[in-house]
Amino acid sequence: MADSLATTPLPTLEPFKGVKKVPLEEYFTSGHRTCQGCESALVMKLMVKAAGPRTIVLGSTGCMYVANTTYYSTSWVVPWMHTQLGSSGSAGLGTAAALRALMRKGKLRSEPINVIAFCGDGGGADMGLSAISAALTHTEYNFLILLYDNESYANTDIQLSGLTPYGAHTTFSPPGSAKRILHQRWKKNVAGMLAAGHPSCRYVATVCASYAVEMMNRVRKALSIGGPTFIHSLDPCPKGWDYDPMLSHELGELAVECGIWPLYEVEDHRLKLYGRTKGIAEGRSRRRPVRDYLLRQGRFAHFTDDDIDYFQAKVDEMWERWIIPGVIPFASEITNGRGSD
């Protein structure tokens, strides 16, 4: 038997040094039916541009399935396959396992082939969390799971998910005369949870496509480091968040600048903040008030000043009281470490 511990060959994917160095070739092109201003469509385009043509993409049910792959008008230039709503982890794992077996046994030419399985926030943080968690423990397989988070089940009519922010108006959480805030749950901290909970996973990152080159370079790192990796992308959604489609890019920036969406990567257990988040953490730039972000979106139009203050207090807590600001939420009672309090 050949060495059963060997993984499949890894690609060399150096970071793009600036936007002018990004190749012109597109692997996610025309044919899709996403909404005007859809940030997730941009994430798909940048994700596969960063990966290149020797890539297999698995897409779980959601906007980026339904809107992108109408029969006979697929927008994917690379091979693409649908997977079930909760199956992005299993899809990446199964495809990578097949490549490994077939290459090891000489049934398929051995070469680096990127495997990317994507899911939305419903498929990733709700239904598919268990499979993603299991997949991230299989270090012998090379694949990336990318969660595009538009903060609701946007394809099925904007229902709340485990990643919908506190208080947001969705079709499952409308503001009413008796209850102004129907959705009282705080958004799950998925990237932090997966990084902390899967110590053998070599790479976890948060991204925002408003910072396109930085986003693509994190995809390239995730695909070339080896083993299963995870990226969580925050994607402004004009339909679900209720704003003018021309403002998607700006809202992504605001989420970062307000400290709501910290940009970081955990590479081989080393946490690095990057981009505007790093500047905020190092005191070089001011964290903007969340009011600037919330009031640009119709989904928070029912918020009173008290609601905004509550939201601000929760974000402040994330930055001022978490053991690792924006990443690991619990404070520590251990005094010789990095504990606070």
Binding site: P53, S90, A97, A98, A101
Partner: protein, 408 residues
Amino acid sequence: MARVAEQVGPAEAEREELISGSEAIAVACKLADVDVITAYPIRPYDTVMQYVAKLVANGELDCEYIVAESEHSQFEIVKHASAAGARVFCGSSGVGWMYAFEALTVTPALRIPLVAMVGNRALDDPGAFGVEHNDALAVRDLGWLLVWVDTAQEALDTALIAWRVAEDRRVFLPCAIGCDGAFLTHSQSMVKVPPPSWVRQFLPPYDRGDLLLHPDNPITVAPQVNEDWLMELRKHNDEAMKRARVVLREAYADFERIFGRAYGNPFFEEYRTEDAEVVLVGMGTLSMPVKVAVRQMRQQGVRVGFVRLRWFRPFPTEELATTLSRFRAVGVIDRDYSFGSPHASGVLANEIRAALYNSLARPPLVSFICGLGGREVTVPNVLEMTELVRRAAAGEPAESTYWIGIRQ
């Protein structure tokens, strides 16, 4: 790359081993050089994965062996591995099979030739480890090839046939092998294990062809089709299931030629039916007590026979109708239930009623629900059922469905 079929040499002989039905299928995985196998524990099917794990640990089976975190993932992982060109195996039992149900529905729709073992088990609640056929039967309308086996030998042989038929481009459908919990999964018998060269001659490498998910073949699999195309695609599956009947016959003929073991009619086994007046019909391991009872009754001059159905999907409608219309009455033993169904019968009984409907000679059919939850189908049960069938043959009024071996 197509392998060159090797000639069977004199040095290559089969060997006999005392193994269980589960172990026989694990041996088949090794002989078929399966590429990706996924496991998740539930009794009684999980014994196959315990044997697979030993084969992998001892270096006898070179595959990706993945212990999943749920049955849903178990079946999704092999589904995707198969789409990327890997030969795959998986399995489950009872409610575990039902937990995977979403994956089970899309696997035939995607034309994935997964071979799965179902260690048939009651669908608890209330808790029961014993055999019932409702788990595997739940996929009967979805495009799965469904077969029930009786012995460990038949389990091994049928697994090899299952890969051959499922992976035939004319078919490309998944196949579930029903193995009665405990009675087959955990019971040992002598099994002839063929040498790998015979298996290579019988079973060509899995070739996904132009459906392979690979950068050299950039296809989009399972896009949104809606009302524009879904009906045509469903019809593709319908045609594939019909073609499977032909492919099955070819496979059994080749199996006999290479392995020297004949199953006769691939779809069902007939036991002492030549001069029978009445017959019982059933699936799986209940054949043992039924055959014993048939022999006893034959000694007393009762002309009774037995038909054991192997392939439930594709259902051998014409063959079975032709055979059964020879008899004066037919009794169907279901190890399953179908509450609220026509005549409140079992699933198999109603399928056979439907198969007989177009026959010129339609014998009376009596439905029996027996042996649920792993309860033994006993020889006295079989005598009782035969007596009821004989009364129906004599024209006496009968119930359409009886529950046999149940406390009153």
